[in-house]
Symmetry: C2
């Protein structure tokens, strides 16, 4: 994101140094940023096939995947018609003409299950990969009293169980999963992945070399049996405020997070 | 360890640049090394009180704690009389005279529970801190077929459940726990800590900056409710084969792993 043009209530932002552009709400809703770019960078550059961007919002991560993975197609899935309207406006932009035919949009609630999920268009075994950036920030970061904390943990468990249950259903055998979350959600994520996804790789994201991780990116494969590994971390910033070279490459679609 | 003197079946090795010495079996049993030094370095330098080194073997981690934490005392706990005999021989060394009165030895099986555990000398709420380096390498690293892998996972779950159950029982409220394990054991560890230890801190240990972690050190506090965090990793080696400055400091008792 290096250019922004205010147009009433929306902004028009360039990503991947202009490889794609997004129309986003200026003030309300979740605005895309580094989280979405890191999530998209967890998909191997050589990936070909259908990918579901679960809880896509305005579509930043999904757009980033089709921009970097030239043989991929992406379905943006969100329950918010307002956010998907922004995605539709982005698709209509002349700047996104080359990517347009590899992106489609599905209005559906990711937390649906069984027949309802299939009826909503999230069909069993219909994708090769699922990515997700669950709404983990919703109020939780500001909840400090013990009672609220416990509630947040319960919500967390439930959130990841529902979202990963859907990923399990919609990806084909050996299909991929990538998600970005707060480190505090790790146990809930591992619980939800158990018996469903294996070969899990955890990549911690630290703001600086000497600070605790603010995010984890987790990648895994459906039905795989291999154990968990911890990959070398990503440090976002160097000594000053500027991005490290690696973070800048990832943010701009020039490198993958897991080196593939 | 920078000097070794073979004496029939044992070696005499200096640790922490000569701050303490250990008698160890030359060929059989688990020989202490970097794992034990990293585990000991997870204890804050200011720690004072009683610490249990569960599954101590010949006592390397426990010796390293008393050498660095000058107000601590340590009980070495192992079920193997042979390994504890090495610890006794180390305690008798003139070189360890200054540390001797802060170390005692308890022959007991860490996996005992309830009355049997108390009767074996591992009394409830009698320690301020427990450290453990469970025998996770026993055959597991060489098990490649799927069946053996699954068995190893089951063993892993059970291992950490039993060991952490004992730590839960013997530490006082708000007491500390630190353990070192393979990354693949992370889920088993989090399961075993759930509802018992909180404020968990995970510190991945990588052989080099660009390689997956080979160990995780996990630290937590009994009865605490805070969530999990991922600390900046330790890289053992730089470009060549030599230790990084930080790894060398930790290996030699001049720095703590978590910066306290």
């Amino acid at each position: 994101m290096n250019e922004a043009m205010t147009e009433e209530e929306v902004t028009l932002d360039a990503f991947h140094r202009g490889a794609f552009w997004l129309v986003q709400p200026a003030r309300r809703g979740h605005r895309a940023g580094v989280d979405a770019m890191m999530l998209a960078a967890a998909v191997p550059g050589s990936f070909s096939g259908r990918l579901a961007d679960l809880g896509s919002g305005a579509g930043a991560a999904g757009f980033a995947v089709v921009a970097r993975c030239r043989a991929s197609s992406v379905t943006l899935v969100d329950r918010s018609p307002e956010m998907l309207e922004f995605a539709r406006r982005s698709l209509a932009l002349e700047q996104n003409e080359d990517l347009r035919n590899r992106i489609d949009i599905l209005e559906a609630d990711v937390t649906l299950a069984g027949k309802e999920r299939n009826a909503a268009g999230l069909e069993d075994r219909s994708f090769d990969f699922a990515i997700m950036n669950p709404p983990f920030n919703a109020g939780v970061d500001r909840a400090t009293p013990d009672a609220l904390k416990r509630l947040a943990h319960v919500m967390d468990d439930d959130l990841f169980e529902r979202w990963i249950r859907t990923a399990t259903a919609i990806v084909k055998p050996r299909g991929g999963l990538a998600l970005i979350a707060r480190p505090g959600s790790l146990h809930a994520i591992l619980m939800a992945m158990a018996g469903r996804f294996g070969n899990a790789e955890i990549l911690p994201v630290h703001p600086r070399e000497d600070a605790a991780a603010i995010r984890i990116v987790v990648r895994a494969r459906a039905g795989a049996r291999g154990g968990l590994s911890v990959r070398p971390p990503l440090f976002l910033h160097g000594k000053g405020d500027s991005f490290t070279a690696r973070a800048d490459d990832i943010n701009n679609g020039r490198a993958s997070l897991f080196g593939d």
